[in-house]
């Protein structure tokens, strides 16, 4: 956190000054470790073992926050007797199809689900039935996740052998301090200290928070890393309470916004799923299958119809399904890496790259560049000439002779972009806070905002449309934004207002609860509804922090509904009283008949704690006054996920796809559902290969940003970290005959790169399964271009394209490699060496 989010780290420093204890668990000793109370080195890719052992510690010593767990989680829920755990199947859950390498999650459902469900399709969507088998990714269910029975069978004594609590106990029993030592390389003493600290610091009086970043997500089991932490935090009662939570430190200014209002293939704004060709023929099909009908997700028709109305305006009517048919349909994975394979295969012909640099910034850079070189046309928009724009004249494959400029047919348009100070608009930060940026000045020359580009591109395209049916969605598209200034810049505030939503009277809406399913409201992103409440740009509010309480509700605007802590109903006990004076936050004010406290309640303001839903209640009315997780169909925190995940209802430790270590917990070595693209452009290191004996992890440095396009051209940053380096222990350096400052070549099946060696005791060999395992680390900020004052080889070129099956994120934090002294071979010699590594 100190390394990549230094200004956020001020709050950790402040907490520490007030007595907070900080543990840092990381494969490398960073600037965060330097300020932590305890640093624990861990082998990259083994975190589920550590987190699982912490869960086991909590469960076997009954250290859970029982009152919280009973009331707010599904611990007491009884699971189907068809369910088989990894304990029974040596690392697999029930329902695995070896042929398709995917799960049918039917057996994971709650007991009684099929009988209690109404019939037919409803059965499919309620209990996580067979329909999940086809595409069990969470993208199918949107923000609410998969559905589960709102009132399942339960045993509040937690003794039923098939209740979630007991299943958890059995499942995590093999995650012990010994396995942590064996697989993570963490000593029993360090584990004991951590376990003691987090349990002692949780409960009524205290809370513990976990902070993570892509060190947890960029794995073939990334989603389950987060699940493991969620289970731990729910058991300890650390969700929805001040000082609690699992905090994702996101690495880009509006990466949160880029998921909320997604430029992602599988979702529409507000985590509404993109429709699937086979499952979602009509709007009704879609709504029936996009998660459950209880909880706030039960209003999904209002969210979806309001989006369709925002996009197709008056043309979207009840009769035509609000133009639901205008939405193109998915048939599977259309994600980034799949798209690159489509480029190489020639099916993807045109490519827009906007403020992104896949030629050096994505895993398996060679595959990326082979894809770029096989396009008909490519549009790159950026501040500088990034490598993605110039690969045809200076890419590494020219040096090796694998490509020749005059043989690359890609037509390239480079359009210079406006910087963040040359346009107005909002970023959504890591706390879901939208902050409006004022424009300081006009962009220079041909530089334009991306808003300008897409608005005018849309305008030009709409000028060219025909009367063909195919063009109807373009013809009917609402695309009339006010233009400003000599560049005819579309009004960003008008776009934000459309996102925030308007009512039947054309006035801005103040909350998503005002959205209607009948087409009378329009809203571009339901979770952002209210960002323009009272016709005021709420994201532009700037009441100084020092004039407000710590929640600072009048600085910017946080989705949803300006809430700062999600699920904050859980900060009070079931009766609505603060769990303790010390941890008081939101509470039920009986006198005023409403939830009160320093934040906006993440609950219906006037729903009493003793409210119990009547039979057949829908949407939020189906949740009781003690159901804090209002987006879930049952209002509970899911310790066990009966549906919605591709790789199991519980996390299990699987080794990274490329690992030097055998999975000693199960016979199943790696995530059974992980995705790979085995083909010449995307080769893999064999598992436990002696040719690639070292663990490689990649990371950022404080002084740079991502692949470097926003830092390498800046003299004041480039001088601080001018060259790509490889961090290794003195022991490994000695083994390899390397001295500090030397050159080393790092090799994987993909390619070899060179880096300077930084020998440091901060990198330590680990003892794993009784033998010494060396880890090395590489920052990934370098490339050959981008206007960089400093250049270097591309770390991402080393990485495999191995993806998490839920979200298709690549495993860039744990792989294997070889290290050789000296600089890498050039040209054909490099190819020859790679041939030897792959086949020699």
């Amino acid at each position: 956190m100190a390394e990549c989010h230094p200004v956020g780290f001020q709050w950790v420093v402040e907490a520490r000054a007030r007595g907070a204890k900080v543990f840092h668990v990381d494969p490398r000793y960073t600037r965060t470790s330097a300020l932590a109370d305890r640093y624990t080195q861990i082998r990259a890719g083994s975190d589920i073992v550590l987190l699982g052992a912490l869960i086991n510690h909590v469960l076997s010593n009954e250290l859970d926050f029982r009152e919280y767990v009973l009331a707010y989680t599904n611990a007491s829920t009884i699971v189907s007797e068809d369910y088989r755990d990894t304990e029974d199947l040596d690392g697999l859950f029930s329902g695995f199809d070896h042929e398709t390498r995917s799960y049918d999650p039917a057996s994971w459902s709650y007991e009684g689900a099929p009988e209690e469900a109404a019939a037919g399709e409803r059965a499919e969507q309620v209990e996580g039935g067979r329909a999940h088998a086809r595409t069990a990714g969470p993208d199918q269910y949107g923000a609410g996740g998969a559905a589960a029975l709102p009132r399942p069978a339960a045993d509040p004594t937690l003794r039923h052998p098939r209740c979630v609590y007991q299943i958890l106990k059995r499942h995590f029993a093999r995650y012990t301090a010994e396995t942590v030592e064996e697989l993570c390389g963490v000593s029993r003493e360090d584990f004991a200290e951590l376990a003691e600290a987090i349990t002692a610091n949780s409960g009524r009086e205290r809370t513990t928070t976990w902070v993570y970043s892509v060190g947890w997500t960029q794995h073939t089991v990334g989603v389950q890393y987060i699940r493991t932490a969620s289970i731990l935090q729910l058991l300890l009662g650390n969700i929805g309470r001040p000082g609690g939570g699992i905090l994702a430190l996101r690495g880009h200014a509006s990466i949160q916004g880029s998921t909320d209002i997604p430029t992602l293939f599988n979702i529409l704004p507000g985590y509404l799923p993109m429709p699937h060709a086979h499952r979602n023929e009509t709007l009704d099909d879609y709504l029936a299958r996009a998660g459950g009908d209880t909880g706030f997700w039960g209003r999904k028709r209002a969210y979806m119809v309001s989006l369709l109305k925002a996009w197709w305006g008056d043309a979207a009517t009840e009769e035509n399904g609000f133009r639901f048919d205008h939405l193109p349909r998915l048939t599977g994975d259309h994600g980034h890496y799949n798209t690159v394979m489509g480029q190489i295969d020639g099916t993807v012909k045109g490519y827009f790259v906007v403020g992104e640099n896949p030629a050096v910034g994505s895993s398996g850079g060679r595959a990326q560049r082979f894809g770029l070189a096989n396009l008909d046309w490519l549009v790159v928009r950026d501040l500088a000439l990034v490598e993605t724009a110039t690969f045809w004249k200076d890419g590494p494959e020219l040096e090796t002779g694998e490509m020749r400029t005059e043989e690359i047919g890609t037509e390239v348009f480079f359009l210079p972009a406006a910087s963040h100070v040359e346009k107005e608009g909002t970023f959504t930060n890591t706390q879901r806070l939208l902050q409006w940026r004022e424009k300081a000045l006009d962009p220079p020359g041909d530089c334009r905002s991306d808003l300008w580009f897409y608005y005018h591109l849309g305008r030009l395209i709409r000028e060219r449309v025909t009367s063909e049916e195919r063009d109807l969605p373009l013809r009917e598209l609402t695309w009339d934004y006010p233009e400003e200034g000599e560049h005819r810049e579309p009004s960003a505030s008008a776009v934000l207002r459309e996102i925030g939503g308007v009512g039947a009277d054309g006035q801005a809406l103040s909350a998503y609860t005002e959205l209607e399913p009948d087409g009378s409201t329009r809203c571009g992103c339901w979770i952002y509804c209210g960002v323009y409440a009272d016709e005021v740009n709420q994201a532009a509010r700037r009441r100084p922090g020092r004039e407000q309480n710590p929640e600072a509700l009048e600085w910017g605007w946080a989705w949803p509904a300006n809430r700062r802590i999600l699920y904050n109903r859980a900060s009070a006990d079931p009766e609505g009283r603060p769990w303790s004076e010390r941890k008081a936050y939101m509470y039920w004010d009986e006198e005023r008949g409403e939830w009160a406290g320093p934040d906006v309640p993440d609950f219906e303001k006037n729903k009493r704690p003793d409210y119990r839903p009547p039979e057949n209640a829908a949407a939020e009315d189906a949740l009781s006054g003690i159901d804090p997780f209002i987006m879930q169909t049952d209002g509970k925190g899911w310790l066990f996920a009966p549906a919605g995940l591709s790789d199991g209802p519980l996390p299990a430790h699987y080794e990274p796809f490329e690992s030097p270590v055998r999975n000693s917990l199960y016979g199943q070595q790696c995530n059974p559902g992980l995705r790979t693209y085995p083909r010449p452009e995307s080769p893999y290191n064999p598992e436990r290969s002696p040719r690639f004996p070292y663990v490689l992890t990649t990371y950022r440095l404080t002084e740079h940003h991502t692949a470097g396009a926003m830092s390498r051209p800046l003299a004041y940053l480039a001088e601080l970290q001018p060259e790509l380096f490889c961090e290794m222990s003195p022991t490994l350096a000695a083994d390899l005959g390397l001295a500090n400052g030397d050159w080393a070549t790092i090799v994987t099946s993909r390619t070899a790169i060179e880096a300077r060696v930084l020998v440091t005791e901060r990198v330590r060999p680990l003892r794993i399964q009784g033998r010494v395992v060396h880890q090395i680390g590489l920052p990934y900020h370098w490339g050959w271009g981008s206007g960089g004052l400093v250049t270097g080889d591309v770390t991402n070129d080393l990485l495999p394209i191995a993806l998490d099956p839920n979200v298709y994120i690549q495993e860039s934090k744990a792989t294997t490699c070889d290290v050789r002294p000296g600089r890498r071979p050039r040209g054909g010699d490099l190819l020859a060496m790679m041939e030897e590594y792959r086949h020699g």
Binding site: A2, Y29, A34, T702, L720, P722, F725, N740, R756, L758
Partner: protein, 324 residues
Amino acid sequence: MAERMGFFTDTSICIGCKACEVACKEWNQLPDDGFLFQATSYDNTVALGASTWRHVAFIEQQPVWTPEGETGDPLRIGPDGRWLMSSDVCKHCTHAGCLDVCPTGALFRTEFDTVVVQPDICNGCGYCVPACPFGVIDRREDDGRAWKCTMCYDRQRGGLEPACAKACPTDSIQFGPLDELRERAAGRVAALHAEGRTEARLYGESPGDGVGGMGAFFLLLDEPEVYGLPPDPVVPTRDLPAMWRWAGAAALTMVGAVAVSFLGAAVGSGGGSGRSAGSSGSRAFEQVRGVRGVLVRGVRRFGGFGGSPPAGWLPMRRFQGRGR
């Protein structure tokens, strides 16, 4: 003179992010230091110098790993393992050697009791460079003049805090009235000692030290040498009043020569370039710089006479070389 302003750099909460280095360079529009990988932990700007007025040192203190481990536990990084980071800066000494020896008046003591070089006056004589017991002030290769931290004198004149202190994410760098900072620092040391971190100590806060106390002082977690700081810095101009009289008298004897040189310079440049003595303030001003050059050369010659220079006027060992 207004209240004495200063920096308190609490290295116990420094995260080595180098925001101070960058914020300083952005505000003061300093040149970069070149782009050389130094393989010295995460430090590539090496030391304070003419173009780096804040510099973050990285000191790795980790127990040596052996297969068996020095504690018998091969897996544990001992509690002694540390990565110290510290943002160094000009100390703005109470008795500032650089200021004392500056013969041109380029260095002066501001109303905030800080020590600042005036680039419009400095002619690059370099006297100040060896006069600094910390090796802070440095001449820039391209223009020859001496440069160092001004404690953002211009910002202070507008009531703004220096750029480094403002940017510092963790408040490791604090700016304020020196008396207040000293009080705060004493409290911080006491708090750390109470936590058992008895290695915490202040450096440069005492008016009794060899430079009369520093305007920029530090909380360190180890001996000063570990951070590249002299353990017992002494201003080389301890016998300042005597020396100043000495230099002043020397300057007086030069006045005749100065006047002649000045006229000569005016005449010499008066032709094609259109310059003439006293024709306008700004032109005259430029010429004055030339005159100062003469004066400096005189002093330099004088300084080179040998004999018996004032006590303390000795070239100090630099504790931090530029390294390249």
